[in-house]
């Protein structure tokens, strides 16, 4: 069993962990002090060297993203994506509620690195406690001189404000989040231009997931080499795994990337309930394909999961035991996506409905082989033709369910 002293979640279980005094008492904002003595380019170089990849799902190299921001642009923004909505994911919520300063320190360092003087925190509207704590954290940071004009006498200015989402999953997609931030209907934008070229109000914008930013103070504080020594070849550093489903101890587990799935389920999360066996695991949130029981030894890293036919996604591990009805799983996940489709493009808006309709019929036991055939055709037809990845993502659970557990579907239809 991997022994790992939590870094990202080091503070969350301390009493009054959300308070700035607690954060400062445990070395908080030291990395910021160090950062302000470095040049922005040095900060970016350090993050690049660490090998940090985004923790929001796509796994884009963070340092490279910062490097894309044009140096000469007069106005640049940083946006923190805390619109955590991927089914099975609950890591950002924990940090937002228990350790907001850990994120805020990352925000300030990142803003300094890219030259942004304004940062927006886009937070999921239902995170009522998180919103409260964030507002307090921002106010305290101003009071302590970590925000505002001339931060810690460095000459660097930064203002941070909070924006609450209104309950749309799609606003976790960075361009939809930007639209929503601007007060518009949350729908993805046409790309290019990418946010690094034209994001919030048309200005170059870095959008980072909350967990990604929590890594930043540690990279600066302990050095890129420390960070790069953790994990696998292409997946460096620690990662928070949100384990849920049929396990005995569901919860957030911070472990090095590359920790085997089996270890996470059986040693950290206490194994499957009532001693049952695993039937399927969603390794990275609802849009990642299922893994079957024979794949439990896969190391939880970007490259290894891709090789196993799935993806690391947000690191949300949803475990399903042998009693699970996979048709029902597909139907439930599908109904989520249909509910969350923004309605912009035809295949997602209408194709999703169609798939759910077929799944409803099949799950009810009234289905015919033709329903299954139509469902299958849709899972092949929709991916790749939708406006944004949501439409493609919605087909994954069904496609992978059909591929891995076909007999369960076939048994339902006549």
């Amino acid at each position: 069993m991997t022994t790992w002293q939590p870094v990202l979640l080091a503070n969350v279980n301390r009493p009054n962990s959300e308070k700035i005094t607690t954060y400062l008492a445990h070395g908080g904002y030291e990395a910021l002090r160090k950062t302000l003595k470095m040049s922005p380019d040095q900060v970016i170089a350090e993050v690049k060297a660490s090998g940090l990849r985004g923790r929001g799902g796509a796994g884009f190299p963070t340092g490279a993203k910062w490097g894309f921001i044009p140096k000469d642009a007069p106005v640049k923004y940083l946006a923190v994506n805390t619109d955590e909505g991927e089914p099975g994911t609950f890591k950002d919520r924990l940090i937002v509620e228990r350790d907001p300063h850990a994120i805020l320190e990352g925000v300030i360092i990142a803003s300094y690195a890219v030259g942004a003087h304004r940062a927006f925190v886009y937070i999921r509207g239902e995170f009522f406690l998180g919103v409260k704590r964030w507002i307090k954290a921002i106010a305290d940071a101003y009071q302590y001189g970590f925000l505002g004009k001339n931060i810690l006498e460095s000459g660097f200015d930064l203002d941070v404000s909070l924006h609450r989402g209104a309950g749309a999953y799609i606003c976790g997609e960075e361009t939809a989040m930007i639209e929503s931030l601007e007060g518009k209907r949350g729908e993805p934008r046409l790309k290019p231009p990418y946010p690094a070229q034209a994001g919030i109000w048309g200005q170059p914008t870095v959008v980072q997931n909350c967990e990604t930013l929590v890594n930043i103070p540690h990279i600066i504080g302990r050095g890129a080499a420390w960070f790069a020594s953790i994990g696998t070849e292409q997946s460096r550093g620690p990662k928070i795994f949100c384990v849920s489903g049929h396990v005995n101890r569901p919860g957030n587990y911070e472990l090095p990337l590359g920790t085997p799935l089996r270890e996470i389920i059986y040693e950290h999360a206490g194994g499957v309930r009532m001693g049952r066996s695993v039937k399927a695991v969603i390794p990275g949130g609802a849009s990642t394909p299922f893994l079957t029981a024979d794949k439990l030894d896969v190391p939880m890293a970007f490259e290894t999961l891709a090789a196993a036919g799935s993806a690391l996604g947000t690191g949300a591990v949803v475990v399903m035991d042998e009693t699970t009805d996979m048709v029902e799983v597909a139907r439930r996940v599908m109904s989520f996506y249909v509910h969350e489709s923004c309605g912009r493009c035809v295949p997602c808006r209408l194709g999703g409905h169609n798939m759910l309709h077929e799944l409803d019929i099949i799950a009810s036991g009234q289905g015919k082989r033709a329903n299954l055939a139509r469902l299958e055709a849709l899972t092949r037809g929709i991916p790749g033709i939708t406006f944004c990845p949501l439409g493609t993502g919605m087909c994954e659970p069904v496609a992978s369910g059909l591929k891995l557990f076909r007999s369960e579907f076939e048994e339902r239809v006549s």
């Binding site: 046409l190 309605g343 209408l350 790749g384």
Partner: protein, 872 residues
């Protein structure tokens, strides 16, 4: 010079400018990629996924939307692979899941892209047997447009049009996913002035025209390309006729004029053409006090000739006058002035805002110049109300090209919200401010040239950087003007009437000349053919081709053409004629009796002829009424605000016996000429002839007028080419469907010199009273509005006066109350409104409301009028 890019679309190599979208490049290669959400005039969206095509790259081919991807060198695109076909079929299948397929009762059926593409690319059979989703049907989003949410395929074209062109995002998406619908915002119907364009661009029948709804099937229509005659933009449109009724008007693309847009007035105000109250026969009044009775053309025209002849014989030619309208065609305007100048022998010809306005004869250099200007100066001109499609172009320039707007107007017009400056002025006070700016700019220019002799700017124009004392309130305007590299100056009649207007126009002209942009100064009149009417010499002091009547050489040239020279003395103006300066008046398309005072003056006339479409207040007083055709029923040409002469061909059979304005004038002239020839041969037939045909007049001494021989409107245009030099090459065929701009020349050109002006500031109205401000309103009660469809008539407000909210509070008046507004010229009862766009101390009464309140109060006299506002 744009870089060119060569790509391959389905094995066809095509070279297009860099930045072109693949869908347009394919079109250039002759390959159609089906689209719904994509539209050449709107920003790419990529929502419908219909245009997915295969892009062949080094790592295999991938699907992407042709409407969002821009071309790159060496790109290879495949538009008809099995994969592409499957995607199209699937997308159409999805779209049709909830589409009601009620094509047999849908207005769009027959010209519907969804129908066409389903036939071309669809599966042919439906896979779905389930019930369709139900949404709101035939549900009004405005008085003019109905929405059917079930037919809607969510292409966002309407949303994007209203946002990108109108800057009025009044339609939005509501709900999410499969529940998504388009709708208006609560309590806010669509009121954009060009909202009807969303009907044209809707790719399905989701948005339908409430005026034309269920009145046509597209394939049964006879379609005639024509132009709009409701404002001077001259938007290109199409007349859709069926069984002798004008069923619908749609926009026709002309990139130089209206792009592919129409305003709602142009689109929806057409039922007057088929209105039951149209005059269908001539009417005559046999004696004062008797009612008008129907008559034949022969009788009516003879009555006109006889009476006009008698009055001319007794009182001289100067006792006859003609008031026309600038709505009529060039042909009608030309023959009208020719009738008076060559046959009657008087220059008593004018139209409203004719000789009373100092108009720059060259019009706008080009509508296309709006997009190329960095500063647009609007003086006494409100495009949003007076010329909505021009307004679209200006908003586009402000939002997309960074043009600044300098608005000089008594009212904070809608366009004043764009970057630039707003300079409030009192009516008649424009000259003072303009002269201040012109003087300061001239001084700065002189100082720069005389002083350190800075190197000339690349444009050759001196930089205007020297600090010049400018009144503080003029400073923002001065800075804009001094910084402008490509300004455009447009003024309207409201700033140009009367003596004060002349000063204002001279000051504005000086301003333009001082900046070196005299050729970018334009006057835009109120009526559709204001420019043409001036070109034709429909003015008391100006001959065809903008030459003064005092010019002997021009008179001689016209004398050769007409057989008789026009008189050398300037004639009477509209105001003089309407106030009793003549004994007989011929009114073509105008309505001087709209005000009580105007009607009283006409009562004193010995003889009044009115030629119009309807029995207007003026026609009701007439001795002879001649029924004229509308623009849709006769050939004619119209010259728009950028000097573009455009064809308006006949698209529908004339109502009753009505005739084209020019044809009536030609027939009248023929009878006039015949009446002057003593024909003894006629006497033998006298017994069979009624009395009115017997009378003959003696030929006057001097040269005889040449006979009028105009078989067609085109023949009139041919003669216009001889009389009006800039029209020399403008034959009907040469005009084509897009029209031709006439060229300025040495004779008709932009101002080049600064003329000294002597102006004094205008005093504000005395305490307790307000300065009257008037101006155009799109949905006024203009001559044709009362005969429009009910939905259109509804848009005209109850006559009102608006005050600044602060004034309202100060005077302890409440919005909605009835008030009496009194000026030195009359009084009217109006509903009181509060309007922040009205400047404190002024009272806004739009022109042409029912009962002509603004005109009654003296608003169009070109002088400041103060009014008192009292509760009834």
């Amino acid at each position: 010079m744009p870089d060119l890019v060569t790509l391959t679309v389905d094995d066809v190599k095509v070279t297009v400018p860099a930045g072109t979208l693949v869908v347009d490049a394919a079109k250039a290669a002759g390959i159609e990629i089906p689209i719904f959400c994509s539209h050449p005039k709107l920003d790419p969206l990529g929502a419908c996924r219909m245009c997915l095509v295969e892009f062949v790259g080094p790592r295999g081919s991938k699907l992407d939307t042709a409407c969002t991807v821009r071309v790159s060198e060496g790109m290879t695109v495949r538009t008809s692979t099995e994969q592409v076909k499957a995607v199209r079929e699937a997308n159409l299948g999805f779209i049709l899941i909830n589409h009601p397929l009620d094509c047999p009762i849908c207005d769009k059926g027959g010209e519907c892209p969804l129908q066409d593409q389903t036939m071309a690319y669809g599966a042919g059979v439906s896979q779905f047997v389930e019930a369709k989703r139900q949404k709101q049907k035939h549900y009004p989003i405005s008085d003019l447009i109905l929405l059917d949410q079930e037919r809607c395929i969510l292409c966002w074209r309407c949303i994007r049009y209203l946002d990108e062109w109108e800057d009025k995002p009044q339609i939005g998406l509501f709900e999410r996913g499969g529940e998504t619908v388009i709708d208006t915002f609560p309590g806010q119907p669509v009121d954009a002035a060009t909202s009807g364009n969303i009907i044209d661009i809707c790719p399905v029948g989701a948005l339908t025209n409430r005026v034309s709804r269920f009145r046509f099937r597209p394939w049964e229509l006879k379609k005639t390309p024509s132009v709009c005659t409701l404002c001077p933009v001259g938007c290109n449109l199409r007349l859709d006729e069926r069984v002798h009724e004008l069923r619908r008007i749609v926009a026709r693309e002309n990139l130089a004029v209206n792009d592919e847009w129409l305003c709602d007035k142009g689109r929806f105000l057409h039922q007057y053409v088929d209105h039951p109250e149209r005059l269908r026969t001539p009417l005559v009044r046999d004696a004062a006090g008797e009612a008008l009775r129907p008559a034949t053309w022969d009788e009516a025209l003879h009555r006109v000739i006889e009476k006009l002849g008698d009055i001319a014989d007794t009182n001289g030619a100067n006792a006859l006058g003609g008031i026309a309208s600038a709505r009529v065609s060039n042909e009608a305007a030309y023959l009208f002035q020719k009738f008076f100048r060559a046959l009657v022998g008087a220059n008593n010809i004018d139209f409203a805002d004719g000789s009373a306005v100092k108009a720059q004869p060259t019009g706008l250099s080009a509508i296309a110049d709006i997009a190329k200007s960095d500063l647009i100066v609007l003086v006494g001109f409100d495009p949003s109300e007076a010329a909505p499609v021009l307004d679209l172009h200006i908003k586009r320039a402000a939002r997309r090209a960074g043009a600044k707007l300098l608005v000089i107007n008594p009212r904070r017009i809608a366009l004043a919200k764009y970057p630039g400056a707003y300079l409030p002025v009192l009516p008649g006070g424009e000259a003072w401010d303009l002269n201040g700016l012109a003087t300061a700019l001239q001084a700065a220019r002189a100082a720069n040239q005389a002083g350190s002799k800075p190197a000339p700017a690349p444009t050759g124009k001196a930089k205007l950087e020297t600090k010049v004392a400018v009144m503080a309130e003029l400073r923002p305007a001065y800075d804009l003007l001094a910084a402008a590299k490509a300004p455009l100056f447009i003024y309207g009649p409201d700033a140009a009437r009367g003596q004060l207007g002349k000063l204002a126009v001279t000051a504005l002209s000086n301003l333009a000349v001082a900046l070196g942009f005299g050729d970018r100064l334009a006057y835009v009149g109120a009526e559709a053919n204001s420019q043409g009417a001036r070109d034709m010499g429909l003015l008391s002091d100006t001959l065809p081709g903008h030459q003064p009547v005092t010019d002997a050489a021009v008179r001689e040239r016209l004398g050769k053409l007409w057989g008789v020279q026009p008189p050398a003395e300037p004639g009477q103006s509209y105001a003089a004629m309407a106030a009793g300066g003549v004994k007989a008046l011929y009114v073509m398309g105008a309505n001087p009796a709209a005000t009580v005072a105007g009607a009283e003056a006409l009562h004193k006339l010995d003889f009044l002829v009115v030629q119009d479409l309807f029995l207007t207040e003026t026609a009701q007083l007439a001795d002879v009424v001649l029924p004229a055709t509308s623009f849709a029923e006769a050939d004619g040409t119209y010259t728009n605000l950028e000097r573009r002469v455009q064809r308006g061909p006949q698209g529908i059979k004339p109502a009753g016996e009505s005739q084209a304005d020019w044809a009536i004038l030609a027939a009248l002239a023929e009878k006039w000429l015949a009446s002057q020839t003593v024909d003894t041969g006629e006497v033998s037939k006298a017994i069979e002839q009624p009395d009115w045909k017997k009378k003959r007049r003696k030929i006057k001494a001097g040269p005889a007028p040449k006979p009028w021989n105009y078989p067609t409107a085109q023949a009139v245009l041919d003669e216009i080419g001889k009389a009006v030099p800039p029209y020399a090459s403008l034959r009907w065929d040469a005009l084509g469907e897009a029209g031709v701009q006439w060229s300025t020349s040495a004779l008709v050109r932009a101002p080049r010199r600064v003329e000294p002006v002597d102006v004094a500031p205008i005093a504000a109205a005395p305490a307790g009273s307000f300065t009257l401000v008037s101006g155009p309103l799109l949905w006024d009660n203009g001559p044709l509005m009362p005969y429009g469809a009910e939905q259109v008539r509804k848009l005209t407000p109850t006559p009102f006066v608006a005050l600044n909210p602060a004034d309202l509070t100060m005077a302890a008046l409440a919005e909605g109350r009835q008030v009496t507004v009194t000026s030195a010229y009359g009084n009217v009862t109006l509903t009181l409104k509060a309007d922040a766009s009205v400047q404190p101390g002024t009272a806004w009464v739009p022109a042409n409301l029912a009962g002509a309140p603004a005109e009654t109060l003296g608003a169009v006299r070109g002088e400041p009028v103060s009014v008192a506002v009292k509760l009834v």
